[in-house]
């Protein structure tokens, strides 16, 4: 038998495991990797977490609701490309200008969000109204939306983004780039929504047992639809940030981010079965991944190893999930 207090401690550690892992990894790297322990490196880790981090929020919400969205990476690429085409002055950019000039920020942001929301709406439509499998529907979107990016760009790129937009990509606050702050703000806002509002509670309930939620009068279909639209819009935001960061867009922008986002979500403690997971954990997962990336770079290992390590990390995360379950059962 274990006392309630012991059990509470174990539960706490298991619930926040990814944070402990992050702390251990950061301390280990600081001791063993030369030049790791500098404020610039930490700022860099946070900055590198921006795009995958934002994308992972939407992905995590859909997974917590018990579904899947593989399209987030392509959606981000599409909204980046549209932002690029509209507001870049070189390459395939048409160099749209607005008066007053600062208006470009809200307008481009709204367009990006809208593009994402439309794709998210389509995903939701196929999954909820036509009862198709979310994995297949969003896999299809992953493919066709990326295809659309290549098609509208003709494989070429847009360069030289409107300086009023680029401004966001250059600013720093407290050593950390403004864009990273935007990602952190997103995590704070959506963590709040998921843990403290009825919307978040209902999404979690649906992910746990959609039948029970439905029986209790929760509008399951409507909320599922909203979560898909939300995931799309958030991916659109990630794309907007990407376009600003790279001052334009290329047809292959963001390739491979989906798997990083996925890895972060799983490492962050979100169960693919749905209903389990917290957004702060996902952010810790993203930070953990980019810490490892950074360490590999600093150690001068060939970049190709990153992917091997990443794969192993995802495996480890899933293994950990299974172990956690066993530990919980022992203490329950």
């Amino acid at each position: 038998m274990t006392s309630p207090r012991q059990r509470a401690t174990v539960e706490f550690i298991l619930d926040h495991l990814v944070w402990f892992m992050l702390a251990v990894v950061l301390i280990a790297f600081s001791i063993f990797v030369p030049n790791f322990f500098q404020i610039g490196i930490f700022a860099n880790i946070i900055e590198a977490s921006t795009f995958v981090g934002v994308m992972a929020i939407g992905l995590a919400i859909v997974i917590i609701a018990g579904h899947m969205d593989l399209s987030v990476e392509s959606v981000a690429a599409l909204s980046a490309m549209i932002t690029g085409i509209l507001f870049c002055s070189h390459g395939i950019g048409i160099g749209l200008t607005l008066t007053p000039e600062w208006l470009v920020v809200p307008v481009s942001l709204l367009i990006s969000l809208a593009v994402g929301a439309v794709i998210g709406w389509l995903n939701g439509f196929f999954v909820i109204k036509l009862k198709m499998n979310a994995f297949i529907v969003t896999l299809a979107s992953y493919i066709w939306v990326r295809g659309l990016v290549v098609a509208i760009s003709g494989g070429r790129s847009a360069q030289d983004l409107d300086p009023d937009l680029r401004f966001i990509g250059i600013q720093q606050v407290l050593y950390i780039p403004l864009m990273a702050w935007i990602a952190i703000l997103c995590f704070v806002v959506f963590s709040f929504i998921m843990s403290r509002t009825p919307f978040g509670r209902h999404i979690t309930l649906i992910g746990g047992n959609a039948v029970a939620a439905f029986r209790a009068g929760i509008k399951v279909d409507r909320l599922m639809f909203i979560s898909f639209i939300l995931a799309g819009a958030i991916a659109g935001l990630a794309g907007w940030l990407l376009a600003i960061r790279t001052s334009g867009a290329t047809a292959n922008l963001g390739t491979g981010m989906l798997f990083n986002a996925f890895a972060a979500v799983v490492i962050g403690g979100v169960s693919l079965k749905g209903g389990v997971g917290k957004l702060p954990g996902v952010y810790a997962g993203v930070l953990l991944l980019s810490s490892i990336h950074t360490a590999i770079n600093l150690m001068g290992l060939p970049a190709h190893y990153t992917q091997v390590i990443l794969g192993l990390l995802v495996l480890a995360a899933v293994l950990l999930d299974t172990l956690k379950l066993q530990i919980r059962q022992r203490f329950a």
């Binding site: 309630p4 403290r196 509002t197 009825p198 919307f199 509670r201 209902h202 979690t204 309930l205 992910g207 746990g208 047992n209 039948v211 029970a212 939620a213 029986r215 209790a216 009068g217 929760i218 209903g275 389990v276 919980r328 329950a332």
Partner: protein, 264 residues
């Protein structure tokens, strides 16, 4: 004991094509009364329960619930009026804590800045603690996820939730099928306490002993007819077995048909 009538079934018939599943069933359930519905497999118990809870539409007959004559077109409608079938596990989200489950779909919120709805966890926890205490149910921590709770505790949460949100008639289909001896005993106690709050309870069971422990009245269905409707005090397990199998004592059953026990 006398219970004001909550549900009255009058000559309920149900045909599935040429098959007559129910051939005119009549009985009453009072507020705060526990009625055990007994009968062999295929006697028509499940069909009857589905008709009461809106899952099936009766071919003929009359149902009066809460003073109004009506059948419910859907389970959702029945639920909205206070009739619910409580299934083990089907109505709980095991990934969420006790409070979250208790308030599922009816969370207490406060608007921040006039438009951001925020869950009031403390308030909800107090309400749940009070409700469980009133019902005499003990659960170690209301913040434990339901997956860590036993089958009996889950059932207690469901029944208390039902009672708390204004349920009037609860249908329990083999509620103790998956429970151990001690849990079953507590479950039976719980049913009595739920009934004591003025809720009508219909419990379907195969286990005679359970029916005699908890029910105020026993209704026996046999081949689509209510062949017995007797106060538990005035009958014996042997008599009830006789009614279920249709062997003897038909006279006793005849006496009390078709409209429940003699006037109190």
């Amino acid at each position: 004991m006398s219970f004001p009538t909550l549900l009255e079934l009058d000559d309920i018939r149900m045909n599935f094509g040429a098959i007559e599943a129910l051939k005119g069933v009549s009985f009453k359930v009072g507020r705060g009364e526990v009625v055990a519905l007994l009968g062999d497999n295929g006697a028509g118990k499940s069909t009857l329960v589905k008709i009461i809870s809106g899952g099936l539409r009766a071919s003929a007959g009359r149902m009066v619930f809460d003073g109004e004559e009506r059948f419910f077109p859907t389970p959702a409608e029945a639920k909205a009026q206070g009739i619910e079938t409580v299934y083990q596990d089907l109505s709980l989200c095991t990934n969420v804590d006790v409070v979250g489950n208790f308030f599922m779909g009816r969370e207490i919120v406060k608007k921040w800045l006039g438009f951001i709805p925020v869950l009031q966890e403390k308030e909800m926890e107090e309400v749940v603690a009070q409700a469980l205490q009133n019902a005499g149910t003990r659960i170690p921590s209301l913040r434990t996820n339901v997956e860590h709770l036993s089958g009996g505790q889950r059932q207690a949460i469901e029944l208390n939730r039902f009672a708390h949100w204004g349920g009037k008639l609860v249908l329990l289909d083999e509620p103790f099928a998956a429970l151990g001896v001690e849990q079953t005993r507590r479950g039976l106690d719980l049913i009595k306490r739920i009934a004591a709050q003025g809720i009508g309870v219909i419990i379907i069971t195969h286990i005679m002993q359970q029916a005699f422990q908890v029910a105020d009245r026993i209704v026996v269905i046999r081949q689509g007819r209510a062949v017995g409707d007797v106060p538990t005090r005035e009958t014996s397990p042997d008599q009830v077995v006789g009614m279920i199998t249709g062997e003897a004592l038909a006279g006793q059953a005849q006496e009390t048909r078709p409209n429940g026990p003699p006037p109190n």
